[in-house]
């Protein structure tokens, strides 16, 4: 065991580069390229603000991902709790001194760019719980103490995020955390019980929702209720996607977005624009690309020797999947509108930063997949 450690510690830079997962890397690059083109389309076929910024962010965060990958997975294991705590501190900072925009207080100004700590928490919570379960004896997984601790790990950031208010991100954080609980071996019946409890208490939860959040749920149930008001986004999104047809309207020819009928086309509704211009074929292609990324992450997890790496990869793969599903269901009118970006595609620095760090850790797990962690 000692020997192993020493052996792995001696991996050279060349070996690290060689051990990167190139399928994952190529898929991410491909996605990045597509995202730049789509951003170019949202700017009406010109290289304007969004295209430029998106490209710059990719150019900064992609090398950052490689940098993260070159740190040993053990390093990430060792710093997991600290990272989690730092992000919690950022959330606390934001809740007091954050920048307010359109009714919510989510951002902090870092001079170079505006950071949204809740996006980082989506990765940090996985990191933290992966370490916790890695260290936890299997016999203690279902103990009262351990469950209390993991629930606190999940709920503390959620409380901060929900009070920003940001329902979408807090749901995503919660789901990312719960999946680690599931993978860690928490009894299935606990999940079933809590799900039933959740359903029963749903009316109470709804009564605590903000009016605009209730409106979103009502609108989801019947978008035609107020077609020019609350239902507008979802109706226009469905029109755009539906009118795309089999092979789409063509690059830069999406009338719905070009003529400003699409709301939030740079961020949450980026898929709508993509789907309008590239149709069913393009959409399925994009889903396949995402599936390849997810599959590769799962694959890396399954070859990892340490349960920390395994838990992180599986958890992160699931998280990416959930982001995609929540975003697509929202734009396809299958779920109420909750703010949730599409990884890499959507415009937004913090989301991309978090996603790239996540990929970086996954790549680190790949490079060091033989690494055992005590």
């Amino acid at each position: 065991m000692f020997q192993h450690n020493r052996l792995n510690n001696e991996i050279t830079l060349f070996q690290k580069i060689k051990n990167l997962d190139y399928i994952l890397l190529i898929a991410v690059i491909l996605l990045s390229v597509i995202s730049v083109f789509v951003m170019y389309s949202t700017d009406g076929g010109e290289i304007l603000f969004h295209t430029k910024n998106h490209f710059v962010k990719l150019a900064v965060f992609f090398p950052l991902m490689i940098l993260v990958a070159f740190f040993n997975i053990k390093f990430w294991h060792n710093f997991s709790y600290i990272i989690y705590l730092v992000v919690i501190l950022l959330l606390i900072y934001v809740s007091f001194f954050g920048i307010k925009s359109s009714g919510s207080q989510r951002w902090m100004d870092l001079y170079l760019f505006v950071l949204q700590p809740s996006e980082l928490m989506k990765v940090a919570v996985i990191l933290c719980l992966a370490k916790y379960y890695h260290r936890l004896k299997i016999e203690n997984v279902n103990s009262f103490t351990s469950i209390t601790i993991v629930l606190s790990i999940i709920l503390i950031p959620i409380i901060f995020v929900i009070s920003q208010p940001d329902l979408g991100t807090s749901i995503l954080i919660g789901l990312s955390g719960l999946i680690i609980l599931w993978l860690g071996g928490v009894k299935i019946k606990y999940f079933v019980y809590s799900f039933i409890t959740f359903l029963i208490s749903l009316p109470f939860i709804i009564s605590f929702l903000k009016p605009y959040q209730k409106l979103r749920i009502l609108t989801f149930l019947d978008p035609d209720r107020d077609p020019l008001g609350a239902g507008y986004q979802i109706i226009q999104s469905k029109i755009a996607i539906g009118s795309g047809g089999f092979d789409g309207k063509g690059f830069l020819k999406g009338t719905q977005s070009y003529l400003d009928f699409l709301p939030e086309k740079h961020t949450d509704f980026i898929f709508t624009l993509f789907s309008e211009e590239f149709g069913f074929i393009g959409s399925v292609g994009l889903l396949i690309l995402y599936s390849i990324i997810i599959f590769r992450i799962v694959r890396i997890g399954s070859i990892s020797r340490s349960n920390f790496a395994r838990l992180f990869c599986f958890g992160y793969a699931f998280a990416i999947f959930i982001y995609i599903v929540v975003n697509l269901s929202m734009v396809l009118g299958l779920l109420p509108i909750v703010g949730s970006p599409l990884p890499i595609m959507s415009y937004g620095g913090s989301s991309m930063l978090a996603t790239m760090i996540g990929f970086g850790i996954v790549l680190s797990a790949k490079i060091n997949h033989k690494q055992m962690i005590a």
Partner: protein
């Protein structure tokens, strides 16, 4: 070892649970793809339509109305290019400032400004508001000079109705103007084609033939963005101009009628006695229909409305007059047809006739002595016709009169305002007044007074049917697609065949029993105009080319009291309202006649002094125009 064991067991748990999630992921992914499939493949058409609905907006332009032309193809209701001023609210930076500027430049009234402000709140910001419908050239230049300062203002060239002959055709054509809400709702076609600024027929043929004249909208399709701003024009679909309508009227004669009736209240109608074509139909005074196109000013409207000569009434069709002596040809004809009298029948006129203690006066106080039919017609002896009417009875007279078109609408299908008049009989009085017929009433009916009421056009048609030898005609004002020539009309008429294709119910064209009787009437009318002592002898034309036969009429508008009769006042001494209406009916040329006319001068005094001289002036023109008219119709028959 324990630790390592625990690690392996943990790995197993993680892997097993990962597998379960993997399966769930696949299911969810399939669900998402199914949703994509249903939206993009199954419902593609629906969403494509919705997307086009989003981005494409149509702007419809007012349709161009069809022209109305006279018999010779001269445009009498056409279209002119006019300059309008539009405001497009969404492009205006400061609406109030703009209104102040425009108010100064165009001298707009406060009312107009208030109207524009109201329109602005009602219309969508990209809909244009019409500030001025008809800018004068100087206004147009002024606006163009200041255009840099008038953001959101757009001078537009458009097409508007125009009546080049002004008041000459007003009562026939009517005019167009902005429709009100009810008019839009009432007519399906107007409803479909309505756009702000469009005008519809309000009166006359413009209203009646609306659905033919209206034309279709030109359509401009624009791609618009989510805020309704036009991005680019996709296509321009040209509208189709409304159908052209050709009338039987002759502008030259129509104009002459206007001049002859200048400053008088009255009417002239001229008709082709074989084809029924109305050659002229003028009601005086008239007014300029162009005034109504862009909204008539209050002052001008009051001037028209309050004119005592009543320009708004189409006297040819809606004016009801006692025919006076112009009814005498029908009374005489009816008596001949019913064998009540013959040409030798004579009555002694002493200037008055006593019946059951009532005195019936002849217009000539001294009396005419013994008169036969011909002399009675010539000198218009009332006593003779009192006696004939007494012998004939009102019911037999009524039958003949209705045959010749009295008491019925002449052009009923074209004009809403046409009146049918009244020719009484005993049954009518019983049903409508609830009292029995009195013999005295028969006597005054015999000289065209009393209950009897007729329109000038009815009298014209009656004359035409006497002139053509006693055959029914169907008067028309619009040229058929397949017009019949007068020769054909005349021939088929005399052979007793149907000549009018669209009046299949009028099988019996013959209005007489004995042709001879019609000739007697024609000769009597000839005598009245062309023989010494005839009432219209002074207005005769000796040249056989223009020679015409006629009958004067003087219709009392009130009962003449004994005192007034003794005073025997000159026309100028009687108040205008109490003066008699002057009437004249005529046809010509006497040999081989072609045209009939009726003239009425309201409160003009006697028919022989006021109405007959007009016929003399008019007949020359009518006959002179005949060659041209004939040529036109022959030319058409050859080219068809």
């Amino acid at each position: 070892m324990i630790k390592s064991n625990s690690g392996i067991r943990k790995t197993d748990v993680i892997n097993r649970r990962m597998f379960l999630i993997g399966a769930a992921k696949v299911v969810v992914l399939i669900g998402i793809i199914a949703r994509l499939f249903s939206l993009q493949i199954n419902e593609n058409k629906k969403y494509l339509t919705l997307s086009d609905k989003n981005r494409i907006r149509e702007w419809r332009l007012p349709p161009t109305r069809g022209n109305i032309v006279d018999y010779f193809g001269n445009v009498i209701a056409g279209n002119l290019k006019v300059y309008q001023l539009h405001i497009i609210p969404e492009q205006v930076e400061n609406f109030n400032y703009l209104l102040v500027r425009l108010k100064n430049l165009l001298n707009l009234s406060d009312k107009k400004i208030a109207k524009i402000t109201k329109l602005k709140s009602e219309l969508k910001p990209w809909d244009s508001i019409i500030v001025s419908e008809n800018l004068s050239w100087s206004q147009f230049v002024k606006i163009n000079n200041y255009l840099y300062d008038l953001v959101g203002v757009k001078p537009v060239m458009t097409i508007s109705r125009n009546y080049p002959f002004g008041d000459v055709y007003t009562h026939v054509l009517g005019y167009v103007s902005q429709p009100n809400e009810q008019e839009i709702l009432d007519n399906q076609i107007i409803q479909e084609r309505f756009v702000p600024g469009m005008k519809i027929g309000k009166l006359g043929l413009e209203k009646r033939l609306e659905n033919h004249l209206i034309g279709t909208n030109a359509i401009q399709r624009y791609e618009v963005n989510a805020y309704g701003k036009r991005i680019n024009q996709l296509e321009h679909q040209k509208g189709v101009q409304g159908s052209q309508i050709r009338l039987t009227l002759d502008t030259e004669i129509q104009k002459a009628c206007g001049q002859l009736l200048n400053e008088k209240a009255g009417s002239i109608s001229v008709m082709d006695i074989y084809t029924g074509d109305i050659v002229a139909m003028y009601s005086s005074p008239s007014y300029d229909p162009n005034l109504f196109l862009f909204g008539i000013s209050q002052d001008e409207w009051q001037l028209i409305r309050n004119n005592p000569l009543k320009p708004l009434i189409n006297k040819t069709l809606s004016g009801l007059y006692s025919p006076g002596s112009t009814i005498k040809p029908i009374v005489a004809l009816s008596a001949l047809e019913n064998n009540v009298i013959d040409t030798k029948f004579k009555v002694k006129c002493t200037g008055k006739m006593e019946l059951y203690g009532q005195t019936f006066h002849c217009w000539k106080e001294k009396g005419h002595g013994w008169v036969s039919l011909k002399n009675a017609m010539k000198q218009s002896c009332d006593t003779y016709f009192y006696e004939v009417a007494r012998l004939l009875g009102v019911d037999r007279l009524n039958i003949t009169a209705e045959k010749f078109g009295l008491g019925k609408k002449v052009l009923g299908e074209y004009f809403d305002n046409e009146k049918k008049g009244l020719f009484p009989n005993t049954k009518w009085k019983k049903n409508n007044l609830g009292r029995g017929w009195v013999l005295g009433e028969t006597l005054i009916t015999g000289i065209g007074q009393g209950f009897i009421q007729s329109t000038p056009l009815q009298l014209c048609m009656m004359t035409a049917q006497i002139a053509n030898g006693g055959y029914a005609i169907k008067p028309k004002i619009i040229v058929d697609s397949n017009p019949i020539s007068y020769e054909d009309a005349k021939q088929s008429m005399e052979s007793g065949l149907l000549f009018d294709t669209d009046s299949e119910n009028l099988l019996d064209k013959k209005l007489f029993k004995e042709k001879k009787n019609i000739q007697i009437i024609q000769e009597a009318m000839f005598a009245s105009t062309n023989e010494r002592f005839g009432t219209s002898y002074k207005s005769r034309i000796d040249d056989p080319k223009y020679q015409f036969a006629g009958k004067t009429g003087t219709a009392q508008v009130k009962r003449i009291s004994k005192r007034e009769r003794e005073l025997d006042l000159e026309l100028e001494q009687i108040p205008y309202k109490d003066r008699d209406h002057a009437l004249y009916i005529a046809y010509g040329p006497y040999v081989n006649p072609r045209y009939a006319l009726s003239i009425i001068i309201e409160h003009g005094g006697s028919g022989s002094k006021a109405a007959a001289p007009i016929a003399k002036k008019l007949f020359k023109l009518i006959i002179d125009r005949h060659e041209l008219r004939n040529k036109q119709s022959n030319f058409e028959r050859i080219t068809v």
